[in-house]
């Protein structure tokens, strides 16, 4: 395009100027036709975060689409760059400037329309992809806009604290454990909260990521598709042991999960009786036992800073 309106300055007078634009276009078309199928069929299925859940699979497709769309753009830039280096290299003794291309309406229009189509297309595609898998695995706050349709999701509460995640299962008596175990083929609703500072729950291969805020509930959805293990990491810098705040979750068969949940519920029955009633947040003002314990211990003001005004807060 630019090449057609910017003929080589060093071309000999009277010689027919090749159709550089057409050459570049054809080279670009052939390479794009080769590279894009390779990305889609060969590279795409191996891109993170995999396909362990519907949100992960959706994100994998999105990243693949982005790669397929961006590859021709990158190819065009590289092809033009290399073509220009070869074709329009300055000849020895040639001190002449190239012709100005200011005011070329065709180039301007092509540039504006092309970029607008790409950006708006990605905007629409991204918005649809955010809605379809019920929020795409992201935290949607306490009142999620997008919910999965049909069936009752498995409720799993993620409780973050410095420096460990624990998980509570309200549909199984409300037991709390350090193990995150899920059944395959089931919608899961994560209710994410924190007992202290801001953390972030990131189940990498499930493509679920939700901030864990104290005194707030943050909801994220996913549907497990395959059995296996996945990594959970805190993705919000949260203090000394932030880098060690990770563990491994498991997706089991339905029968395997049921057996694990039933067994764990029984094993932790004594502990569960001492836990506060299941709630979406656990600050000292809303958990009766905790508030009472702090009050009796003289640790007033526990709802905010945990320790009261008799202990001035240090920086």
């Amino acid at each position: 395009m630019t090449a057609e309106s910017a003929p080589a300055p060093a071309a000999p007078a009277g010689a027919a100027e090749p159709r550089h634009g057409l050459r570049i276009f054809l080279i670009w078309l052939v390479l794009s036709a080769i590279v894009d199928p390779i990305i889609w069929f060969v590279w795409g299925p191996h891109l993170p975060p995999g396909a362990m859940s519907d949100t992960a699979a959706s994100q994998q497709v999105d990243i693949t689409v982005m790669a397929v769309m961006s590859a021709p753009v990158i190819l065009f830039v590289l092809i033009y760059f290399i073509y220009a280096l070869i074709t329009w290299r300055q000849k020895p003794g040639d001190e002449e400037d190239g012709p100005p291309i200011h005011g070329n309406a065709r180039i301007s229009a092509t540039w504006i329309i092309g970029t607008a189509v790409i950006v708006l297309g990605l905007f629409v595609y991204g918005t649809v992809e955010l809605i379809v898998p019920a929020g795409a695995g992201a935290g949607e706050g306490n009142t999620p806009i997008w919910r999965p349709s049909g069936g009752t999701p498995l409720q799993v509460q993620v409780i973050a604290q410095q420096w460990r995640f624990t998980y509570r299962y309200p549909q199984f008596g409300g037991f709390e454990t350090t193990d995150l175990v899920l059944p395959v083929g089931r919608e899961v609703q994560f209710n994410v909260t924190s007992l202290d500072v801001i953390h972030s729950f990131w189940a990498i291969q499930l493509a679920v990521k939700a901030d864990a805020n104290p005194q707030l509930n943050n909801v994220a959805y996913t549907k497990t598709l395959h059995t296996g293990s996945f990594t959970v990491r805190c993705s919000e810098l949260c203090g000394l042991w932030h880098g060690a705040m990770f563990d491994t979750g498991r997706v089991l068969s339905v029968a395997g999960f049921q057996a694990w949940a039933t067994r764990t519920e029984a094993q932790l029955a004594a502990l569960t009786r001492q836990l506060p009633p299941y709630a979406l947040t656990y600050d000292a003002n809303s958990v009766k036992q905790l508030g009472k314990a702090f009050h009796q211990a003289g640790l007033f003001g526990a709802g905010g800073n945990y320790y009261g005004s008799q202990y001035p807060v240090s920086p």
Binding site: I159, T177, T178, D196, W241, L271, L275, L290, Y306
Partner: protein
């Protein structure tokens, strides 16, 4: 500016930069609490006995940096002296018999799940010889002061509250609680962090700053040597 002045300025700037870098490396990267080595003289197959203590605060002589902070101490296996550190080295695949002397008072537990004993041999800990598996940290009189937890091996033990509070650690003659338990070290080498899960840093936001966020006080590393 004359040449000698320029050269002198350059040298001063160079020395300042290098000096600053050396200070950072020595003070922050190479500094820190000592490591108590329980592998010296260890006979394969024999257990390792570790004794620690918790103190509400310490003497300025023992802990000059932050004597007002709550802290663990470890008894040196060779000399028997109390050392202000939370770093210790143990052999792999070895039974550790841990004794924690509690010279601190009680603190309500933030998350009751840490009142549950996990990862010990037999799934049990002992308060003064009495077995416990789950301790209610919210019912007064409060039974727990801190926890000793190594998350990556699933170990968590709530430490019994002491009958009093010793403010001049390391303490030897005051009344104290005694929490004992045993666990197996991993079969492979590595560094395993341990920490207290009760936010006990008085004067810090949510009780989690200061001693909770500084190695040498309420958290540290267990280095396992294969």
């Amino acid at each position: 500016m004359s040449l000698p002045v320029r050269v002198a300025t350059l040298l001063v700037a160079f020395v300042a930069v290098v000096g600053g870098a050396v200070f950072v490396v020595v003070h922050y990267l190479l500094g820190g609490p000592p490591v108590e080595d329980f592998t010296v003289g260890h006979v394969a197959g024999q257990p390792v006995n570790i004794v620690m203590q918790t103190d509400a605060s310490s003497s300025p002589t023992a802990v000059p940096d932050h004597p007002t902070w709550v802290s663990y101490f470890i008894k040196n296996p060779q000399t028997g002296a109390w050392v202000h550190t939370t770093l210790f080295k143990v052999p792999a695949n070895t039974r550790v018999n841990m004794t924690i002397l509690g010279y601190d008072g009680s603190t309500p537990i933030r998350n009751q799940v840490w009142g549950h004993v996990t990862g010990t041999i037999g799934g049990v800990a002992y308060y003064g010889g009495k077995p416990v598996t789950t301790v209610n940290g919210w019912n007064g009189p409060y039974l727990i002061q801190h926890t000793f937890a190594i998350p990556s091996i699933g170990l968590n033990v709530p430490v019994e509250a002491g009958p009093g509070t010793c403010l001049n650690g390391p303490c030897t003659s005051n009344a104290h609680s005694t929490t004992t338990f045993s666990f197996m070290t991993p079969s492979h080498s590595g560094v395993f962090r341990w920490q207290c899960f009760i936010p006990c840093g008085l004067s810090f936001l949510y009780g989690n700053g200061g001693p909770m966020s500084t190695i040498g006080y309420m958290g540290g590393n267990m280095e396992v040597v294969g």
